[in-house]
Subunit: 233 residues, 2 copies
Amino acid sequence: MHLNPIQLFDTESSTFTYILSAPGSPEAVIVDPVDRQLERDLRHLERLGLKLAYVLETHAHADHVTSAGELRDLTGAKAAVPSGCGIAPAEMQLNDGDVLTFGNGEMIEVIHTPGHTAGSMSYLWRGNVFTGDTLLIDGCGRTDFQSGSADALYDSVTRKLFALPDDVRVWPGHDYKGQSVSTVGWEKRHNARLANRSREEFIKLMGELNLPKPKLIDIAVPANQNLGLPHGG
Amino acid sequence: MHLNPIQLFDTESSTFTYILSAPGSPEAVIVDPVDRQLERDLRHLERLGLKLAYVLETHAHADHVTSAGELRDLTGAKAAVPSGCGIAPAEMQLNDGDVLTFGNGEMIEVIHTPGHTAGSMSYLWRGNVFTGDTLLIDGCGRTDFQSGSADALYDSVTRKLFALPDDVRVWPGHDYKGQSVSTVGWEKRHNARLANRSREEFIKLMGELNLPKPKLIDIAVPANQNLGLPHGG
Ligand SMILES: [Fe+2]
Ligand SMILES: [Fe+2]
């Protein structure tokens, strides 16, 4: 049966964090927590009576620092990360097709969706897909740095994510317009960048975006590859 | 079985709008929609494949204008509003104890929770309570205008909302700190204004807040009493 996650938003980086849980167990999973929201997120787990089993990252973020390491250390949860993102100190390195279980038989399927970064993963749980910066609502993540590839993102979205059932709900890593959720069916038909567009058109479009370099990238990526924890010395 | 609603946020007024739906039917209910988010909300209903059965208001808001009338007119949903709020053009005037049904046997219980305004209602659905501005996360709505009463709010929260099971999730009408959801149990034990405080202490506290008059109140309240639609004439 379909269950919505709890969606939390960091206004400074426009990042969504998700808490996944289901009746029958207090175990929960958090996806893409943000460092400056550590207290908020801990308090939500406490308020909801939840016990964190896993901290999941969709990729090594360039625009904000994760709280994955701190959350893990404070709660005893395991950090589970995409194997191709260079996030060394995590308990689990995830690969395409892996299944993570928590709570009372809850299953999260790992789908490798490279393109925004080479290691980016999407996570499928109870008819919801958490797409990180691969597929956004009516958009997609940039592909011009951090081992990004418009060619790879085109395949990840059109062959993997758009192959999911139409009613699967799409929960993105960011939104800049106050939106919360979409569906595979809607994005397949209407996504401004990816619907009804050839691979060549998409690669050309992404190559012409000329986006500024993210302000935090030189700090955030190395920090996130250490789960947001200070580098030991 | 517990289901989370979909939570949408208007950054300008820090207002939450909720979409309620359940497997087995495309029928949905929206709670407290905001005028400037009309397009966003219509698009979410479209993306999720939902058909609006009811537009629900928790009270006649003073800080933003509702899109209830427009949503109703565009979707064919019925507007359902608290009977004591002077919202004349609604299809349904709700009273304490009423039950609204939609979808495949989904039930919404109406709980009269005066205090922020005399007519304010809370709505209980599948282990979630939508509290409008009566009970906020670690706070409560003001009680100094619009037929507000700290005395009445104290009873509404401590006798009615805190009497719900501890694990009922509390979804407020506003939040100003990036928070999403709480529970009855947590608020009962920790709410900064209402936990472990006598009626007299609470009334004194609320009387000393000295909040500025909401900028939009003289426009918003009459507009909202007409479901946000232009007054004819
Ligand atoms: Fe990213
Ligand atoms: Fe209000």
